[in-house]
Every structure is written in structure tokens, then in C-alpha cells.
């Protein structure tokens, strides 16, 4: 068991956190933009899709690092807190992959049939043609999972700050590595 998170693990943790929150805000903006701001609307949609797709390889990399290097020994938390933390982290990992995958699939199923072009450079083929019935299922799932991810991530952050104020090194280990 390592004494601390590796540099790569810490950077990935913060990079993914930043991506999730930026992309969530971007989603709120892109939906709210009127069609009269068509240029900005198209750009924000494509940026949202691109950042979401970026999360997928980062998630794989992060899990690979976790499997290869493991996690530092747990700090002294009460048993139920350890259990709750583990449950919350597992849910976060699940949502971190579910949200972008559901988003990509709902983009594929969307009847409007606009392509996904990664950062407006690399076309990403959709796995199936537009399908209204499928879209009606996938879109709310993506939206609900995204809200769940953000709420859970905020709770995760709040707990880290709470433990930090109690003098436990959880936040410091992830921020500074020691």
C-alpha cells in the first residue's frame, strides 16, 4: 500500500473534477442560449461533447492507476464513515463514466442528428442512427446522472473540507501528496 497518492493520480483527480464542473456549467449555458446566438450555441454544444468524451479515457487511466498503484492507507475515520466514503467514491467512479457515455449515446440518438466532432477537429462516429424513442430515454438519464454526479462531488468535497478542519490529512494528501 503506497504512502501517498502518486502525482499522476492527484493531477487526474483534480483535472477530472475541474472537467466535470466546467462541463456541467457549460451544459446549463448551452441549453439556455437562444437560437439567435447560434454560433455560441453550436460551439458550446460541441465543447460540451468534447470535454465529456475527454472524461472517458481519463477515467480509464485513473482506474488503471488505481489498480496498479493502489490507494494510500485510510486515515483514522469511524467505521461507518469509512463505509460511507467508500460507497460515495464507488458511486462517483460509476457516475464519472456513466454520465459521458450516456451523453454520447443521447447525442447519437438525438433526432436533430448533428455530428460529434471532437474539438471541431476529429469526427467521432455515432454508434447508431437518430432514434426519438431512445433519445427520450437516454437524455433524461444523462441529465439526471449529471446532476447526481455534481451533487455527489460537492458532498465529497464538503466532507474532505470537514475532515481537513478536523485535522485529518485527507484533503492534504490529495492536494499536496503528503
Amino acid at each position: 500500500m503506497p504512502a501517498a497518492w502518486s502525482v499522476a493520480q492527484r493531477r487526474l483527480h483534480w483535472a477530472m473534477a475541474a472537467l466535470v464542473f466546467v462541463n456541467f456549467l457549460l451544459a446549463l449555458v448551452m441549453v439556455a442560449l437562444p437560437l439567435s446566438a447560434l454560433f455560441a450555441k453550436i460551439l458550446t454544444y460541441q465543447l460540451h461533447k468534447s470535454l465529456g468524451l475527454l472524461l472517458i479515457p481519463l477515467w480509464v487511466w485513473r482506474l488503471w492507476l488505481l489498480a496498479r498503484r493502489g490507494r494510500p492507507a485510510s486515515v483514522a475515520l469511524a467505521g461507518w464513515q469509512q463505509g460511507a466514503a467508500r460507497l460515495g467514491q464507488s458511486a462517483l467512479y460509476a457516475l464519472l463514466i456513466a454520465v459521458p457515455v450516456l451523453g454520447f449515446l443521447s447525442a447519437a440518438a438525438a433526432p436533430v442528428a448533428v455530428e460529434t466532432v471532437f474539438f471541431l477537429i476529429l469526427p467521432v462516429p455515432h454508434p447508431f442512427p437518430p432514434d426519438q424513442a431512445l433519445y427520450d430515454v437516454l437524455r433524461p438519464l444523462h441529465q439526471g446522472a449529471a446532476w447526481g454526479l455534481v451533487v455527489l462531488a460537492l458532498g465529497h468535497g464538503a466532507m474532505a473540507i470537514h475532515h481537513h478542519r478536523q485535522g485529518l490529512p485527507i484533503l492534504r494528501l490529495m492536494w499536496r501528496g503528503k
Binding site: L35, L38, F39, I42, Q46, A110, P111, E115
Partner: protein
Amino acid sequence: MLEKSKPLPIHRRALAGAVLPLLGLAPTAARAARVFRFDQNQGRLEFIARHLQVLTSTGQFSRFDCELILDPQRPETARVAVQVETGSIAHAYPGAADLLRSPAYFDAARWPLARFSGSAAPGGRIEAFDLAGPLELRGVTQPFILKAQLARRRRDPATGAEIADCTARGEISRTAFGMVADMAATGDRVQLAVSVSLVIG
């Protein structure tokens, strides 16, 4: 959303009518030409726009009439006349149809109809022939070419009739018709595409 229907059971008629052939006056070509009439119930009329050079979006007109006079053996004699209700725009993106009907785009309240009438150019083959003529849209008339083809000719196993998929595509410059909104987001070239299945024999 329109659904593509079964091949159109065209009411066929000789171009020169019923009397001239009986008198032996109708030319061979005219005897073989047929009139195919179809609308949104049998065919599909779409427009495809490009955005930021890399994306496309597709909308359609849900009310139009098309008359195609075509002799599959002599495509160079083909003629077409299309009339489109510009207010019948349908688009999957919420609000897009209203925007496209507005004065900035098709201005459907002021110009409710668009029309195209074209004739085939010599030298065409049934696999690929051009229909050229004036396109009237938003009160502006511009030359327009539809590149048509008759493909996937096959026999209907139920009726034994010969069916073919007819598609025609052309490209307009939207600014040439006075549609200059959102140039940063949407390209100038917009494709128009008609598709229908025809019973040709």
C-alpha cells in the same frame, strides 16, 4: 417526422394524351414518358446546412408538390416542377423551424411558396442526369441545377412492378436569396435533396 411510404403507385399517362397515340401522331419518346406526381406523403424534401465547416443539420419541408415527367429510356427529355410551402419547415431542434420561417431566413409569411421548374440537359444517363432551371425563393429567382439519378431498380415481389429510387440534389447559395443571417455559424451553401420511390414499369 415524415415517413417514407411505399413506392408511389403513379397514375401514368402519355405525355401527348390519349388521342394522339391512337392517330399514330405521338413520337416514340413521348409515348414512353410518364408523369410522376408526388408530395410529402410519398417523398421527402430536405435541406442540409453546414455549420462551422464541420457539422451538418437537416430539416425538411412537410408540404410540397412535385411533378416529374420522365422516360427512363430517355432521361434527357425529363422535366420537373416543384412547389414548396416554405412555412411547412420541420426541424428536429426545438425552435429551429420558427427561426427558419422568420424574415431572417425563408420569410414564409411574405413568401409562402418556393418554385422550381427544370429540364434535363442533353447527354444525361438514367444513373445521373441534371435538371436545370429557375428556382424562385423569397422573391428572388436564380438558376438552379438538381443532379438526379434513378438507382436501385428492382422488382416488387408482390406486384411484379419495376421500382426505382429517385433522388435529386442541388446546392444553393442562401445569400443569393437574401438569407444572410448567422453567417458565422452557418455556411452559405445549402443542399436541397428530394427522394422518392417510383414505379417505373
